[in-house]
Symmetry: D2
Subunit: 282 residues, 4 copies
């Protein structure tokens, strides 16, 4: 009975998970995918569970895929990682399951992107399907800003980044909400206040964590979102829409939880390891 | 009762499908994703079936995702498109389902890639997870060639292309086999002879189509491969391994069928349209 | 006595030059660098003059360099091409020669770029050192727009494009001026009106050509700018600064002249070919 | 009387130069271009001399250009930096000045590159115009290797890297020679032995420094090469061609000198600082 902790760059969060595994006397290997090759081979990976914690989305995806092929249970699954790692796929699954999302138009050429801007009206948000920490998520307030963004996006060599999610701008009361789901349970939620000189609340951009009260509606939408993407351990970014109420902005498949722990005082690594023990190691 | 034919660049194959729809008097729209935006919205797409035929993998994937979210049946599904569009995901699913594949090692850094080369031994094949028409699929015959490839791959800005599939080189009898599957039926198979001055059989690289006899083993593996990825209309690249017999090299989710039709005399657009009618339009 | 006309994509302007060479009965070869290799070898290129007309800046630069090495006179020289092709180099040469330019700060990291924005104040212009047709030239009106541009620029794989020219925004009276210089002579000038929904006057972006009167100051600055970069056949973009008067925005080393001819009625190919004959072929 | 030491990443070599300036009691500023902006403005930079030592070629180029515009003497000049930083420009200048170089063909499209391979014959070398430490310099031994390189190069987003220098392969006796020139004087030369499992001698790739005797021919070609590109402090990579004798492979405008000092026992920072004092500070 053994656990794999899959990493590339080891952050404090991964160290905390390792420490918790140590304390619970769980046998585990740290698999650093930058240092170890992953042969596609059955019988090679002697683990009940692998916790996927790489910073790189693709490294997470491929490590999960290789381990699943060898019949290891991964948290999260490759399905969850690629669905959440791609905002168009995530939104599509959520819409199909009737979980509310921001109104979004997918555009695939410069001309049609400009047309979508004009149809939707300014201000609006434009983001590429992939990318973390709010990177390249753009607030577009008029046609000049829009043309500038389209031109820059066209210069990127990755064709995936030339696809646009043109999205209604949700005035966000100066904060957004982030909830952490583990298994079928909501661990908790907190808010991130938007820092000065930005319009995005991402902690990486200076967003300031603060505690909030969790209510039934928040719990309901967070659990519904997690379930839609088969997320076993995911964080959910939630916006407060003036008409639609709570809507899902994003789901993170390798959830960061430093800000969460600061705001909620919930010991996430402990919860995670206890969850793994009771569900997979007994 | 209406069909959507989703395209970006219209090739002869898409024209043949449209012609066949005309002849069978099926009502359909051509949706060119370079000219039309795709709002994520239920009730907007009044189609029973969408045939996804874009050249761009990402445009195929996102068009399928948007249409599925609006409850349109897509051929192929977004699941099939992303799984087949990514060779690591496809190999993982095939391995898990015990469908034979080339022995492959997934590597995620320059150093470990070089180590995998040395472990596997030369000659070997190195390919990135994504890419069509054999592009960047490299035959590596010694460490000098290997270092050159690793250096070039590191220069690419798309981090996904810095992931390597280091793979046994299957001596391929001067040809590879390509089979076309529609629904649960094998439409047929043909071979592509490797052109002079290359080691790959892709038609885009000059591979010459030739007819072959289909046997039970070929049928079995092709149907198993298609089923594993939920492929409804897919082509399967098959190699003849000296010890393992038939193995799956690749599955294509927007199958080209010009070479197939030339070699087998099977009318693919007719088969496809009849399949759609009898399964979805009646 | 022979001329080389060096091209990659043949536009109407190159056809007009060829036609003029025909009419004047000048012997010439069209060298399409996409179809012909350029060995670095003396004695191989039997031309008095090569007119460099590729759309690609690098193809222009390298064709000129190879021909110069073989003692062919090129219009323009490789020195002029690389200096004008790189806005930082061009501005540096102009400043050194006391030819007025927009006040500009060169920044080489995201943090210092943001600092330069704050120092200069909004609105301002940010452009990368290379790029044609106004591409990626951005009007930045506040810190949010600025951060968005910096983030996008950081995603580009070409490290040269991560360098910023942070520049005062010159309110441009709804137009900019473009002058054409040949040898030591000013051929003429015209204005380009800024199209609706843009702030840039580039013809490629919809700028509308209109005729203007040439005055002594305009002639003086255009000739000074051309001379500074050794430009033999160049077009000069000029802005009207409210305090500084005329200032140089950009110099183009493979000048487009369609708009110029429409506005000025001057036959540029005829002037160019007569210039070549009288200076190099007699 | 003041010196600027321009850096981005501070390596031991830059620390040694700073230490030498300290010892000689020369007043100097370290300008880290990642931390400090460079306004294009006369009178702002109160230096006699700037020593340009950034790792990034473009940062070196632009820092030199800005400082030159403000009438600071830079070592090296922006002219030397861009000429040496671009192998096609360097080869062109050398050929024009009759300094021997490897026979090279410049190609600008995939098809013509393949044609150049066939004309030149294998083995050959293919390198892009820019890049340091031997990166992407490829030994091509047959058409398969050649096609692989062309395909990879086409995937790079920087169009400059799609230009090829197709070059005769100079069998290099297991080593290449590197000479250091300062002012009009040859400081010395050493050899770099090619490491096992590579064909390139770059120290960054494991090349082992060893001392050699300097002869008149070596001195002559090194000084001629430096003079051709106006190099004031440059290192010259020299190959021993079986027919042509010494030929110039590359010139480095921000010379690394760790290996040189180990092999020759010459104190480069001391020589450099004394050179600056006697030429510019007295």
């Amino acid at each position: 009975m053994k656990v794999a902790l899959v990493v590339d760059i080891v952050r404090p969060e991964e160290k905390q998970i390792a420490k918790e595994l140590d304390e619970k006397k769980i046998s585990y290997d740290v698999i650093n995918v930058n240092q170890v090759n992953l042969p596609l081979k059955k019988g090679l990976y002697d683990y009940q569970v692998a916790v996927i914690r790489t910073v790189s989305m693709y490294k997470a995806l491929y490590a999960a895929a290789v381990l699943e092929a060898a019949d290891v249970h991964t948290i999260n699954s490759s399905y969850t990682i690629y669905t959440c790692g791609d905002k168009i796929l995530a939104y599509s699954k959520l819409l199909k399951a009737n979980v509310p999302i921001p109104y979004s138009i997918i555009t695939m050429s410069p001309d049609t992107t400009l047309k979508a801007y004009e149809e939707l009206g300014y201000p609006l948000v434009d983001k590429p399907p992939i990318g973390s920490w709010g990177r390249m998520v753009s607030l577009i307030r008029d046609v000049i800003e829009g043309k500038t963004i389209i031109e820059h996006r066209e210069m990127l060599s990755n064709s995936q980044l030339k696809i646009h999610i043109v999205q209604e701008y949700v005035k966000n009361k100066g904060r957004d909400i982030r909830c952490l789901v583990l298994g079928n349970k909501l661990l908790g939620c907190y808010a991130r206040k938007i820092p000065p000189n930005d319009w995005r609340a991402n902690v990486a951009l200076g967003g300031i964590p603060e505690s909030i009260d969790v209510n039934k509606d928040l719990e309901k939408i967070a659990l519904a979102a997690a379930k839609t993407v088969n997320g076993e351990f995911v964080s959910i970014d939630i916006l407060e829409h003036e008409n639609k109420g709570y809507i899902i902005n994003e789901i993170n498949d390798v959830p960061e939880f430093k800000g969460f722990m600061a705001a909620t005082k919930i010991n996430v690594p402990k919860e995670l390891v206890e969850y793994i023990i009771s569900n997979y190691l007994i």
